[in-house]
C-alpha cells in the first residue's frame, strides 16, 4: 500500500505560508493513498501557475505543460494509454482563461480525466491580476478600477458543457476535499473539481474566513441529484452568499476512449508495430 510520503519529492513546496495550495497538495497525496495508486501508476498534468508549481512536489509521472494547454496533453495521454489514471491540476487562469476553449471541449468529449481547478480568483504566479473567476468589480493589479466582465462560474460552465462529474471542494477542509478527489478520479468520464483556494498574498477579500462564512455541504443540505437544471440552479446560488460544496452532478456515459473501437484490444502504447503491411492499402491507388 502506498503511503503519503511516497508522493513527496526532494523538493519542498515554495508556496507562500498559508496558501491554499498546501492543502490541495495534501489532499491529492491522501487521495492517491486512499485509491491505492502507486507513484508510477498514474500521470498528473499541471498547468502553469502557483497551482502548477505543484509538479515539482509530487512524485508521480508528471507533465508540466504550457499555460492553458494542459488539458489537451492530458486527453492525448489518455487516448494513448486509457488504462492509466490521468489527472489535471491547474489554476483558474490557466484552465478558464488561456485554456477555456480546451476546457469546454474536454467536457464535451468526456475523456476519462479528473481536473482540479485551483480557484483563487486571481493570477497568483504573475502577482495578482484578475482571473475569469474574479467577482465583477474586483480590484486587482490589471483592473485597478474593478473587473467589468461577468464572473465565470466553473460549475455551471462544466455542467452545460457536458462534464459527467461536477463538484466543488474547499482547501480549508482537507478530509472532504480528499474524498472528492477520490470520487473524481474514480469517476469514469470527465470530472471537474472546482477547489476554493485562498491566495493569501494577492486576494485579500476571499480569505479562509470569508469562505468559511459561506460554504455548506450539499450532502448535508438535503440536496439530491435529480436533474441537470436542478444542479445548475443550485450552482447559481449567489457567490457572495452561499457556496455549496460536494457533488452537484454525476452521470454515467461512455467515455471518449470507450467510444473508440481502435482501443478495444488494448492501449495504443502496447500495440505491436512489428508486422505492419500497407500493401493492401497501396493497391487501392492503382
Amino acid at each position: 500500500m502506498p503511503k503519503s510520503e511516497d508522493f513527496n519529492t526532494k523538493n519542498f513546496p515554495t508556496w507562500c505560508p498559508g496558501c491554499g495550495d498546501f492543502s490541495i497538495w495534501s489532499a491529492l497525496k491522501g487521495a492517491f493513498v486512499a485509491l491505492g495508486i502507486e507513484p508510477h501508476q498514474c500521470v498528473v498534468v499541471y498547468g502553469i501557475g502557483c497551482s502548477g508549481n505543484m509538479c515539482s512536489f509530487v512524485n508521480t509521472y508528471g507533465f508540466e505543460g504550457l499555460h492553458g494547454r494542459g488539458l489537451p496533453v492530458a486527453c492525448g495521454i489518455k487516448m494513448a494509454n486509457h488504462q492509466l489514471p490521468v489527472l489535471m491540476v491547474g489554476g483558474d487562469g490557466d484552465l478558464l482563461g488561456e485554456g477555456m476553449g480546451h476546457f469546454i471541449h474536454a467536457c464535451r468529449a468526456n475523456h476519462h480525466v479528473a481536473t482540479l481547478i485551483h480557484n483563487n480568483q486571481v493570477y497568483g504566479l504573475t502577482t495578482g491580476q484578475t482571473a475569469p473567476t474574479s467577482e465583477k468589480g474586483a480590484k486587482t493589479k490589471s483592473t485597478p478600477s474593478g473587473v467589468i466582465e461577468e464572473q465565470t462560474n466553473p460549475i455551471t460552465l462544466a455542467l452545460t458543457a457536458g462534464a459527467t462529474f461536477v463538484a466543488r471542494g474547499f482547501s480549508g477542509d482537507i478530509p472532504h476535499l480528499t474524498d472528492l478527489i477520490v470520487k473524481a478520479v474514480s469517476h469514469k468520464g470527465f470530472a471537474v473539481l472546482d477547489v476554493l483556494q485562498p491566495c493569501v498574498t494577492f486576494n485579500k477579500v476571499n480569505t479562509y474566513a470569508w469562505f468559511r462564512e459561506r460554504v455548506y455541504k450539499l450532502e448535508e443540505s438535503g440536496y439530491r441529484q435529480t436533474t441537470k437544471p436542478a444542479a445548475i440552479e443550485r450552482a447559481f446560488e449567489p457567490w457572495s452568499e452561499k457556496l455549496p460544496l460536494g457533488i452537484f452532478w454525476q452521470e454515467e456515459k461512455p467515455t471518449y476512449e470507450d467510444s473508440l473501437p481502435q482501443l478495444k484490444n488494448g492501449p495504443l502504447v502496447e500495440r505491436d508495430l512489428s508486422h505492419i503491411d500497407i500493401s493492401k492499402l497501396s493497391e487501392e491507388f492503382r
Partner: protein
Amino acid sequence: MERFTWKIGGQAGFGIATSGQLFARMCVAAGRFVADYSEKPNRIRGGHNTHQVTIADKPLYAASREVDLLVALDKDSAFLHLKELASGAAVIYDGEKITLTAEDLGRGDVTLHSVPLARFAKEVGGEEVMRNTVGIGASLGFMGCDFAPLERVLTSAFGKKPEHLVANLKAAREGFEYVRTQGGGHHACPLTQKLSSPHIVIPGNEAMALGAIQAGCTFYAAYPMSPSSSILHYLAGKAETTGMVVKHAEDEISVINMALGASYAGARAMIGTSGGGFSLMVESLGLAGIAEIPLVIAEVMRPGPATGMPTWTEASDLQFVIHAAQGEFPRVVLAPGDVEEAFHHTLLAFNLAERWQAPVFLLSDKNLGEHSRSAPPFDTSSYRIDRGKLLTQKDLSGDKPFKRYALTADGVSPRPRPGLKGGVYLSNSYEHDYFGYSDESSEMRVAQADKRMKKLEGIAHEMPKPLILGPSKAPFTLVTWGSMKGPVREAMERLGEEKMKVNIVHFSGMWPFPKKETEKLLSSQKHLVLVENNATAQFGSLLKEQTGIDIKDKLLKYDGRPWFPEELMAAIKERL
C-alpha cells in the same frame, strides 16, 4: 519521348477533381506514366475548377502547362485556357449547350469537336455530373485508344454500386463511340505501351499518410486546413482498419498538445496542418523541444500571409519552420520533393523523432500534397522501426528516482513511458534538472541547453543529403528544394531531349543544414540558378547564411502556381 496533356474544366461542384483522378488512373492502368495538376478556387460552388493529366511513355516528374486535349464543360473553360492550348490542340465541348467557334477563340490552329455531353448523360439516366464521364469516353475515342482501360477503372471505382457502374459505363461508351463515328481517333494513341506491372497513382499527402501507417504511427491529430486536410481524411477513413486514433481536435493548439501527450505516453504521434495552423502551434513546438518529446509535424504550405490563398501553392514557410518558437532547441526539417520522398521521408521522420527525441517537420506544399504522380508501389522492405532509447519495464531497476534528463554523449537520454515502475519523472516545459523538476540554476541551465543542442551533430549524420540529378557537370545547375524537384527535373529531361545540358542539386534535408556536402556539390558547378516558389528566396538566404554561397541568378515564382516545366525551360533558354 511522347507526352500528351489532357485537361477538363468546369464549374466547381461538378466533380472535376474526381474525373481528373479517374482519367489519371485509367492512363496508369494502361501502363503509362502520369503527373497531374489541378486548380480550384477557395469555394465549394460556382468557381472555375480544372484538372489536367500529363501522360508519357517514360517516367514523368511534373504535369505540363501546355494542353493537347481540353474537355470544356462550359464556355469559360475554353476561353480561360486559350493560352495553354498547344498548336494542333483539340477542344471537346457540348455544342447543344454552348456555341463555340474557332473564330470566337481566335485560334486557327485549334480544332473544335462538339459532343452532346449533357444529352448522353441524360439518356443513360444519369445526373449532370455524368457529363464528365461522357467527356472522358469521348477523349479516349479522340485519342485513338481502346475502351478497355476506361472500363477497368470505372469498374473498380463503381464496382460496389452496380447501378452507378452501368450508367457510367454506358455514358462513357456513348461519348467514345460518338467521337469514333465522327471520324475521331486520328491521334496517335498515347496509351499503347504497357508497363508489365502497373504503377500506383498517388498524391503527396496520401503518400505521407501511408508512410505514417507503415512507420507505426498510432495517433494522428489535425484541425482541417487546406491543403493538408486530405492527410486527415485519408487516415480517418482508414482508422478502423489500421487501428490508428485519428482526432479532429478543437484547434491547432490542442492538436499539437494532444499529440505531445500521446507521444509522451509512448505512442508514435503525428500532426498535420498548413502555415496558419502551424502559427498557432509555435509555443508548443518549443515544449516538444525542451521536454524532448518526439513528434512528426506535416506542414503542407500554401500562400500566406494570414488566410492567403488557401487552395493554391507556395513554398514560403521554410525560414518560419526553421526558426519558429522562442528560445533555442534542436529540430529537424525534411522537405520531400516527390511522392517517393513523401513516403520515405515520413518513415525516416518517425525514426529521427524517436531516436533524437525532437520535433521533425515534413515540409510539403499544395503542389506535392494534392497533385498525383504515378510511381511503383513503395518499397518497404528495408524499413525498420527504431524507437531509439524508449525503455521497457525490464530496462528499469526501480529503487532510485529516475534521471530522465541525464547527460549523455549524444544528448539523448533514456525515456520510460508512464506506467512503468522505476521510471517516474516529470516532463517539464520549465528548464529542469535530471529528474525533470524545475531548476533555474545557472549550471543546470547550461548543462541541459548543451545536452539538447548536442543532438544536432548526431542528427546531421542521419539527414538526407542533397542530390545531384542529371550529369555531374553542366553549364547550368538548377539549385532547388522540396516540391520544386518535380518541374525542375521535368524541365531538365526535356532540355536534354533538345540537347541542352543542365543538372540539378536538390535539397530535401533542410535542417540541420548539410554544410559540407553542399559546399562540395556546389563549388564545382559553373553557373548556379536558384529556383524557388516564394518571393524572397528563402532557401537562397539559408544557403548563404550556412555556406557563404550567394546565388545571384534567381528564378522566383509566387503567384500561387507551381513552376511549370515549360516556364523553366524558357528561362534556361534565355540564359544560353
